[in-house]
Structures are given as structure tokens and as C-alpha cells.
Symmetry: D2
Subunit: 307 residues, 4 copies
């Protein structure tokens, strides 16, 4: 069944958009038009103009809309947010957001749709960058200014199906900095070619009263430092976020038994469905998607202008 028909079906209340990025906008607009609630994979769209259309149409249609920035569904990220909200870090000073993988390290890794600018937009700034930008917004606040530099290390790869050599039109890696509206500094890096980094999203936030560290390769842990601890015993504590007191966790296993990546998806869907059930707007919404996409667009522009 084509997506056009699917969004019109009467027996469907909500649509999950998990196509390549270049179809997100059209499906979302049609689904909103048809009064369906929308759960959309990230990045929301190819650019901020599309993301704004999605947001405005969804709002106008009165449907619930959510972008699946899935790492908000990791219990350790929820704990980070709560500690920040509770003022445990006080004033944010600087934030690090890195997302390194190495799936494309080998020159033999085939051409994929993510390497095609037409289908995937801004490359690692969009694919991985949208994750770290969303988490920067979630944990620190809005960015007001950015600088960016990207690079392509392997420009030609073979198409897995045709065997034909194709030119990668997106980037393999990017470094960028930003200033937050609250005065904090941010530093970011995204790469598909970091040898040994299987799925290494690393976040660190340093504030005037404490610091937090998170590493996706150890996603059941959150490291936290509190400057208010007695001086002699201050230290980064590694909180094993698998206890009933931690968000989402009591619905799963006994204390101490690890969760992983897939549970974050379950938590995202839970947030979406729960919001529908309670007739309120879930987060992160298409507004968050639009704000994130504006940053990604600004990164692309900053990268282009400097060359």
C-alpha cells in the first residue's frame, strides 16, 4: 500500500514516518491533513523550511506530533535532565556533544542513501548532529550562534547493488561550535569514520555547581559530579541507572539489570501514546524538530560560507 493511501485509512489513528528523510515532509503534511497523529523519525526534514511546514500544518490540524529523538528515551538522559532542572548544576558553562561511529571507515563500505545529499541533506550534521543538537537543546537550551567545518574523507564508494562507483555528496565528519542563549559554550563533533567508535555518542555538561557525563556505549550509566559534596570525597560518580527509582525502569527488570537501545524506542512510543491518551502535546514535538533543523541549516550555511 502506498503511503498516500495509508494516511487516508479510516481505521488508523496515528502514523509512524520512518522513510528516508526526503519523504518526511510530504507524508507529515498529508497525515496532518487527514487528522492522524504523527510520530516521525529524525531528522524531521531536509531543511528548516520543510520542518516549519510540518510544524505549522500539524498545529493547524490539531493532531499530536512528535519527532523521535530517541535518546531522550534513555533513562540516564532523563536523569540528566532532571538533575539539571533541579538546579544541581546551576549555571551551565560548557557542553560537549560528540557522536562518533565507524561503520563507514573502510573504503569498501558501500554507497548508502545517507551519503546522497538529495536523500539525506546535511550529512553527519543532520544524521548524527540532529541527535546531539536536540540533546543540547534538551539539556542546556537554545543555541544562538554556530560555526562549522565538515570534511569528506572517502569521496567515491561503490553502489552495493549496481557495483557502480558513486560520489558521496554529503560529509563524513564535521566539527562545530556554538553559543547558547544562556551564555554557555558548546563544542560538537560528528563522524561516521572514527575507528573503534562503534556507537560513541558522548555528552558532557559542566556547570557552576557540577558536571554530567554520558556515553552511549555505556547507556545504563550517568556520571555526575557535584561541587557541593564535601571536598575530600568529591568525584565523578557513576550512577548505574537501572534502579526502580529511575524513570521508566521499574516497568522492566529487577534492579541492576541492563536496558539498551531498543528500550529507548519503547519509551518514545510510550510518551507518544500517553500524550494522545491524555490529550496533550508530547515532547519532543515538531516544534523541537523545527528548532533543531534550524541549527542544522545554520551549520550547513556556516560550513559553506567559510570555504
Amino acid at each position: 500500500m502506498s503511503w498516500e493511501k495509508l494516511v487516508d485509512r479510516r481505521d488508523i489513528d496515528a502514523i509512524h514516518i520512518c522513510t528516508p528523510d526526503n519523504l518526511h515532509r510530504d507524508i507529515a503534511l498529508a497525515a496532518a491533513q487527514a487528522g492522524k497523529h504523527i510520530f516521525c523519525e529524525k531528522p524531521p526534514a531536509l531543511d528548516a523550511t520543510e520542518a516549519r511546514q510540518m510544524y505549522e500544518r500539524a498545529e493547524a490540524s490539531g493532531v499530536k506530533h512528535m519527532v523521535n529523538f530517541v535518546y531522550r528515551g534513555v533513562p540516564a538522559i532523563q536523569l540528566a535532565r532532571r538533575l539539571i532542572r533541579d538546579g544541581r548544576l546551576a549555571i551551565p558553562y560548557h557542553f560537549q556533544g560528540f557522536y562518533h561511529q565507524d561503520f563507514a571507515l573502510s573504503e569498501d563500505f558501500p554507497f548508502a542513501w545517507r551519503m546522497d545529499k538529495g536523500a539525506a541533506g546535511a550529512g553527519t550534521m543532520a544524521d548524527k548532529g540532529s541527535h546531539v543538537v536536540d540533546l543540547a537543546r534538551f539539556l542546556v537550551g537554545e543555541l544562538s550562534e554556530v560555526s562549522c567545518r565538515s570534511a569528506s574523507f572517502v569521496e567515491r564508494r561503490k553502489d552495493a547493488k549496481t557495483g557502480e562507483e558513486r560520489r558521496a555528496t554529503t560529509n563524513d565528519a564535521a566539527v562545530f561550535t556554538g553559543t547558547f542563549e544562556n551564555g554557555a559554550l558548546g563544542v560538537f563533533e560528528t563522524s561516521n569514520m572514527s575507528a573503534g567508535c562503534r556507537n560513541a555518542m558522548y555528552l558532557e555538561l559542566n556547570g557552576s555547581k557540577g558536571s554530567l557525563r554520558f556515553n552511549l556505549e555505556r547507556l545504563n550509566e550517568l556520571e555526575a559530579f557535584f561541587a557541593e559534596d564535601a571536598e575530600e570525597i568529591q568525584g565523578f560518580r557513576s550512577i548505574v541507572v537501572t534502579q526502580p527509582v529511575h524513570r521508566y525502569v521499574r516497568h522492566w527488570w529487577p534492579p541492576g539489570h541492563a536496558l539498551d537501545w531498543e528500550h529507548a524506542f519503547v519509551h518514545s512510543v510510550y510518551e507518544f501514546l500517553q500524550a494522545i491518551a491524555e490529550d496533550r502535546q508530547p515532547e519532543p514535538s515538531f516544534y523541537d524538530g523545527m528548532k533543531c533543523q534550524q541549527v542544522v541549516d545554520a551549520l550547513t550555511e556556516a560550513d559553506r560560507v567559510k570555504r
Copy 2:
């Protein structure tokens, strides 16, 4: 005894400059003039113009000259360099250089000369930044382009002696990116106010065949990933750099017994004295000091222009 008299003494062959930064140039010029070999603490000078004068005068005088970028004297850093030189990482893709401390975190921390632009120049970009920029040059190569943003989080502090409030004219933190001449990307951060980071200089280099990681808080370790290992057993290995086979180590303790920060100073002095004994120029020289300072100046300028 004043430094002016000291540099003229006949019974002295070499001068160690360990004054505040704003005296480095004058002492170095006088020492070179007097035919003394020079070992100068970092950063070499207040700006690249001074650093160039130092380099040119030392070269013209025929003396040996060295800037004490002390972390080159850490055995793990020497091992990193050797692995890179041996081609174990192949093409460098991206480099991370962070130097976080938290000594100035408290608002009660007193005003120090490092916070006075007149005495300390470019703030954390100079003080900490010169370390990570020197190591970037040592491990990756020359930078061709930079971007920078600094911040001051506590602008007024009390003078420890007078009790008077003084305005900090340097920065507390900076984030910057760079592009290397060989195409690699670099991302950097320096801060005196990172809660919980006692002396956390963190370096990471990702190349087409491997990666290296170093953390100054665990300076006897170097982490290395080699993509040429059999796929099933690939992983970042934590090399405990305390074995006789590692540079400098066999002159110290039995295998496995840790070195620390002070030994790096001993190694630097060894390199300086050994070069004098063998009548060759030690490294890092005033040339390296000048090149590093040019990057620091460019960071300051990039930071200024954008505001």
C-alpha cells in the same frame, strides 16, 4: 639577583625562563645575546611577534633553544607519536584536544596574574590552549585555519593580597575548531571552570587505520585501537606505559610502577641537556613556540572578530 645580571654571568651556560609570560621575550633576547642556551616555560610569549623575535634572535646567536611543552615528556605521548610516525593510524581524520581544570570554579577563588590580560595574554587559549595546540602540531601537523569563541563566567574576583575586587580581563573558557594542512579536522576546548576536572587534558586522534586516546588524569595509560586487528577482537586497548620498552621508563622504577607529572619535567630537561651535549637543536624549539603562538593569536583574532 636581577635577571639582567643573571643572564650575564660567566659561570652560567643555560637559562631557564619560568617567569610570568610578559617577561619571556626580554629575558630570552638578553640570554641569547649573552650566548646562553635557553629553556623557556610555555607559552613562549605574549604573542607571535614576540615569539618570532625570540626564535630569530636565538637562531642568530647560535644557542640551543627549547620551549617546555612539558607533556611531550610524558611516555604515553611519546608512544602516541611513535605509533603515528610508524603509520599505525595512517591518514589522520580528526583530533580532539581538551584541557579542563576546575581550580577557578568557585567565585571565591582569588584574582591571579593568569586572569590579567597584560600579564597572561590570551587566557585559557594561551595557558591551556598552547598545550593542546602544541600536541596537535606534534601528533597531527600544522593547522591552516581556525574558529574560536571564548567566555568569561566570573568577571570580578578579589585580589588575594589587597582584598580589592579586580576585573578578569582574560577568558575562563574557550571552544575552537581548526583544519589541519593535511585535511584533518580539529576540535578543542579549554576551561578553568569545569567542575570535577582536576587536570583533565584529553586527546583523541582518529585515523583511517586506528585511533588513540590519552587522558592526563591517567597519564600512565594510552588507549589505542587498530583497525587491522582481527575484527572479532578489535577494541581500544589500554596500554599501561610503564614498561622498560617505553621511552624514558627503564631509567626509573620496576615495570608497572607509575610515573607522574614531575617526571615529564625531568624528561624535558633531559632532552634539553642531551641536545646541548650532542650539539644539536632540541625539540620543541622556539620555532615550535612561534608556530604554536601564531595559532593562539589566530584564535584570539577569530574570537574578537565574531563578537
Copy 3:
């Protein structure tokens, strides 16, 4: 439906025994009698006599039988076994097997069936000890001699339902040593009251050519040291066991995306069903259960005799 009726149902081919330990034997004997394949949670029985009956009856009945020592289903444990089988560690010298949790740390933690000797047998030596003894057998070999000392730290706890105080008749912790038939030494510890240890099963095996380390709180990682690596770059490597080349992994997520505890159960069931489909005996079988239970019995006896 009672278990007696369940094991006789014609439309059932296989039985999963997940009752308290004191029912395992009777259900297993009846299920074997009825020609059902049997998948039994660990420890297999209250003592080695029961475990032997289970093994002998299942063999005599010709059914497939498996004890769910679930940690054999963790990909990192499978990798450990394969590296050992391939001779990468050569001669085993010593093995550490620790299993620490802290669920019972608080004196307010209620009385549970695991604390009643009648229902749970040998306490932590049976509950946690059977896991580490099974893994010791899986990775190193048969034990020939043991020594043991257990302790109870909180002897009376309240029954959660009745509110009545009850005496815990099993132990809270035990330490034990063993000698393997191949000459290796083993050292073990089990505890329900190790503050901060949420689910900390730690294994280490040191052999004449290398070492392995595993920590259940980071179950996607296996640390390995190979003495045959070039001396300068020897180190414990942290293998992120989430790549398609690792056992079971390619059936799950993209590279680098974590698995957790529940997947090990899926893998155990897969092994059971696959063995039935291929008409061969799965591992670990009731024979392994019996051998493990013999060690647990010997620990109990060693602990008793010394007092």
C-alpha cells in the same frame, strides 16, 4: 492448571521450569516421564542427588534437557569461550568469579523465599554461586577441590505479607576457593549485600598467553590481553561485542547498538529450540547442572565442616 496436569498435556512438546528451586526435581522427573523436552531455570535442584536424578531420568527418557545458565547466552561470554578454545590464553593459571548485588543491603528489605533454606538450598552459593561455577566450568574446566566460608549479616527480616519477623536460614555472602583439574586456581565471592553493586558479576581468567575480563554491568564489553602482541602496545583491549561478527549479534541491531540481559534469555531459548530441531542435546544440559550442583554441595559441606 497444576503442573501435574500441564506436563501430561498432549499439545505440549516442551516444558519450561521456572518455579522455586524445591519443585525443579519433581516437575523435571514428571516431564521426562511424559516425554517432554525440558528447559529448567538454575540452579537445577536443591542438591546434587536431585540433580543426578533429573539428569538420569531425562537421559533415560530420551528427551532434550537444558539448564538455563543464562549468562552463557551473552555474546561476550561466547567470545571469551571461543578465544579460550582457540588457545589464545594457552594454559589457564587463575580464575576469578564474583557475583555481587546489593538488593538485600537494607535491613528493611523483606524476607524472601531465597532466604529460606528449605526453598532455596545453599543461599548465595546456590543462587549466585551456581552462575559463577557454571561459567568457571564453561571457561576453565572441572573443579577438583574447594574451600568455603559463608556469612549471614542480617539474620532476621520481616515477611512482606505477614509483617512477621522471620529468620533467614541461608547466607548473605560467601567466599570460596577452588583448584581445577588442570591445575588452575580459582577464587570466588557471592553476596547479596555489596553496597553499590547493582548486578556486578565479574569474571577474570589469566592464562600463560593472555587474560580476559568480563563485568556483567557492562555486558557488551569483553576485555582481553594478549601477551603475543608487540610488547610496546600490549594492553587490555575493551572489545565492544556488538558487531555482526560476534555470535548472535547479526540477528539484532546495527553495529554498535547495545544488547542487554533479556537477549541472553532469547539466545538460551534459541539454543534449546535449535537443538530440538536438529535432534541433538543442547548445552548446558542436565549433566552440566549436576556437575555444577556437585560443586555447590561441596561448598556447603566445606563451609559446614569448618565451623
Copy 4:
């Protein structure tokens, strides 16, 4: 000059005994007789009888006496002791003390005096074991009962000087358990042949209110867990023990700058000299040496009896 003459010299106030173990007793007795204060390397003697003679003679002579159990001089160990003394762990439940090195892993490693029972006594139980037993006594209390099993993995080695093959009469590794007078359990391991363990002394203490972990390969860190922290943010904190507030540290470098193994020796000598200056008995004294040696003797006996 022979030691006999040295201990009689009038211009010497104190003697440092750093000979092979089989000379400790005679030198100590003579030095005490001559009224010299004594600083003796560990283990204090070949057996508890000798250690008792040393203790009694030193006491009778009124000299100050200290055994250099050097790891008590590590700031992190001092912090551990202080936290325990302050009741932060409350009732001790179990203690782990492991000391693994790999210097003797290769079969080509030459015969050394430590492998000769006549010169070195009880092998790894004495050499490494005395360290962990002393720290167990320092941190937990007196042991009341032990069990032990040792092993020799390479029985014949070449003498480095003569090239002749010699039989190692001590052990290469040992595992042992113990019960403390206060009811805690202890588990221990010592080895010279643990591949990849350069100098891996690992200690862990779990108590009713918290836990501590220490790893000699990262000796500037102490990990601490406090069950009294708010449940949501409980975790092992890694305390970087390089701050002015930590014992001994303010006399060295700026905050955050690592110390190492050699500084522990300086601290031991400081304790010895300071006690002489203040006319009080330093710790660990020959009494501690004797108590430690009694445990080592008991381990040797337990190991012998069981064979």
C-alpha cells in the same frame, strides 16, 4: 662496610633495612641492641617467630621501629582509612585484596632470589600477600582464620648469572580466604603471572553503608559508594585524590597533578622521621609486622596441610 659495622657507628641514629628477607631479623636485632631506630622493608622477616623477636627486642631497646608497608603512604589509602574510621561504611561485610603482576609470566624470566624459599620464605603470600594482609588489617581489622591454596606454574628457571637451571621453591600464585574478628569475610589472590597486570593491586571493601575500591594502577583515585546518598544519584564516585585537602598532597604539586609510587616511600619515611622527632612510636610498627607475618605463616600452614 658490613652491616655489622654499620649498626655500631656512633654517627648514625637510624637504620634502613632493605636487604633480602633472610637478613632482616639479624640486622634488626643488632640495630636495636645498638640503640638505632629501625625502618625495615617488608615482609619484616622469614616467619612470625623472627618477627616476634624483632618486635620484642625493639620494644625492649626503646627504639622506634617501623615496617615499610609502603602502600599505607598512598594518599588514597589514607583517605580510605579515614572514611572507614569516620564510620562512612559502618559494619564491614567483605574485603577483597588482590595483588597481580606479570613480571614472571614468560618462561624465559630468570631465576631470582624471590623464587628461593630459603631467601624469600612463603613466596607470593609473603611478598605480595604481606601487602594485602597489612592493608586488610589497616582497613578492616585482625583476621581470625584463613584457608589457602598456592601453585607453581613454571617450576624451573635459568639463573641469570650462571645460566644453570634452578628449581623455584616458592609459589607463583596463591588464593586465600579469611574471616575477620569482626565477622567480615576476606578473599585474596596474589600472583606474579597474571598476563597484563603490570602492578595491579586491587582492594575492595563492602560495608553496611558503603563500599570502597582502589586499584594501584590508578593510585591517584579512590572509588567510593555511599548508601546514604539520595537513591537516584547513588553511584561509585571516582575521587581524584590530588587535592590539597587530601593527606600529604598539599606538600607537592598544584591541585590535580598526579603523584605516584615513589611519593608513598617519601610519605613512609616522613612518618618514621616525624615519629622520631615527636618521640612516639610510628605505624605500621614491628607489632604490625609481627601480626602480618602471623597471617602469612598461617597461610603457609593452611596451604601445606591441605595437600
